[in-house]
Symmetry: C2
Subunit: 333 residues, 2 copies
């Protein structure tokens, strides 16, 4: 049996208090009451996202708990980035088979290192015994008129991707023995899988520049469809333009394609912006120190193409038919 | 494998949209984007609480899923009640061993029935495969200056309890075979255990009347200490004044005491208010249609009593020494 109060206090509450940003609202009430109290910045709204991570499904049972602490928060911060929201706070609920101090120390270290990097305060939580399960809910502040919504793409928009895609899926494949990679490449893939970097700075820089955005958690082919369906539009994408790391380019071409289009756990941003904003998008990428790559174009539905869909083509313009689907989830085993 | 999008859409997203309160803020963005957007009422703050429920620990595996849907939200709404906050919205993340449609239909029915009763909109969530685990984060709006905080008790305050205590723990004991009850009493105990009623109306009526409040989830003896510790005060409590149902009064006296003081899952409010506010507290209870009972008094620390503690006595004023402790959690098995 876990002793809820001593655990929270030892590994989380004291650290949370110490890490409170110096610009924190004086009215914020954090851990220790029935509720935390939080308000967005004046004139803004709170952007809220929740994710649940289950051992054996979203991460391997032998994952370094420090990396798990990082990743559990990173995937939530990535949702804030995709909204153009500035991180403010998060709650953490988790169940754990036993109160393992070494595990908790490492997990909380990974969690707070990332939280402090983004000025994101732990304001509440719940701990209990049970199969390992982590649920984080994250809060950011965003002006509603410049929030990067999925339904805001427009015909003629360019489609952009931050960073590179496919490395996390490549790492999963190496782990599973689906393919092999040189040790240095395998290490890069593993880092991509275990330590995604939420694109917070880019999301903020894209306010007022980009139209629609989301973060890529289930693979480009499936995730881009969410923008198209909610915006009632179509897309044309150049497969060869999808950005890949040098390490991924050393794998077989069909593996590269599978990892970039139907992979998952990329946590890069996919966003749309008008062609007139190309320089502004490049400037946003520069400001955030993240490469941004244009991979396609948004177009309107018409009589011959009356449903949201992605038309894939290669660098030469030759159309390609893909049957790949994005995944709902990773299956670690 | 669960198909995340179809599940969410079928049982949750459509119902959430249909249930959206007519007074919903036009700027709210709910299920289907990276984040939901939410703001408190003008001049207020969001009260936020998160709870995780694990099968076999917080509820029996054979619990009616409709009751589970009710209880999972009720325990979260109870935290809003204890803050004097008005429910606005919630997120739901859960893992489920398999996508059982009958289970999901019943669970969502229990969940939404309570959500709609309190005008609380589902704004986001996450579903995944895994051992049954439910994580709800709930949002209410509260004026920060009248929020019912745990650290706001004052010397001379009365200590009050809403409703009656101990029925849920009595139901657990019947289920476990620790004691027996007549069928009608056992049914009442089971209802108390499975269908707690969050005291939202009372919490709202106590704004500006009560000083400190919390909800009783782990037993009066342990929970009252949270107010005392955070307020740096002591309490004197009349054990015989603690309100009990007629059904509980038919159990043995030592069972009654165990259930009321060291039980759990009551989800009644324990709050403090100045003696001058007795009529106002009674009026708040009347307005909320919940009985309120005065059980003791708050006093300052002094040289002879320099640590927060509860002094228990009986109706005749004779001091009692208790070794009972509140529990961190229920253990269903």
């Amino acid at each position: 049996m876990l002793s809820e109060f001593s655990l929270i206090d030892r590994f989380f509450a004291r650290r949370a208090a110490a890490a409170r940003p110096s610009n924190a609202d004086g009215g914020t009430l954090g851990i220790g009451d029935d509720c935390a109290l939080l308000a967005p910045r004046r004139g803004e709204m709170l952007a809220i996202s929740t994710d649940m991570l289950v051992e054996g499904r979203h991460f391997f049972a032998d994952l370094d708990p420090e990396a798990l602490g990082h990743k559990a928060l990173a995937v939530n911060l990535s949702d804030l980035a995709a909204m153009g929201a500035e991180p403010q706070a998060f709650t953490l609920a988790f169940s754990l088979p036993k109160a393992d101090e070494a595990w908790l120390a490492a997990f909380s270290e990974g969690l707070f290192a990332l939280a402090e990097l983004h000025g994101c305060e732990l304001i509440g939580g719940d701990t209990t015994g049970g199969p390992l399960n982590l649920c984080i809910t994250v809060f950011g502040s965003v002006p509603p008129q410049t929030a990067l919504r999925r339904d805001a793409a427009r015909p003629g928009d360019d489609i952009w991707i931050s960073g590179t895609l496919g490395d996390a899926r490549a790492g999963l494949g190496v782990r599973r023995g689906e393919w092999h990679a040189e040790p240095a490449d395998a290490a890069l893939f593993q880092t991509a899988l275990e330590r995604p970097q939420p694109r917070i700075a880019l999301g903020l820089a894209l306010r007022g520049v980009a139209h629609a955005a989301l973060d890529l958690s289930d693979g480009l082919a499936g995730d881009l469809m969410h923008i198209l369906e909610r915006s009632a539009l179509r897309a044309s994408v150049d497969i060869d333009a999808v950005p890949r790391s040098a390490a991924l380019r050393r794998l077989a071409p069909e593996v590269q394609r599978r990892c970039t289009l139907a992979g998952g756990d990329d946590y890069e941003l996919c966003f749309t912006a008008p062609a007139a904003a190309r320089a502004a998008v490049e400037a946003a990428g520069h400001e955030a120190s993240v490469p941004v790559t244009r991979i396609g174009t948004i177009s309107a539905l018409d009589a011959a193409h009356d449903r949201p869909a992605i038309a894939w083509h290669d660098a030469a313009g030759a159309p390609l038919s893909l049957t790949l689907q994005g995944f709902d989830h990773f299956h670690a085993e």
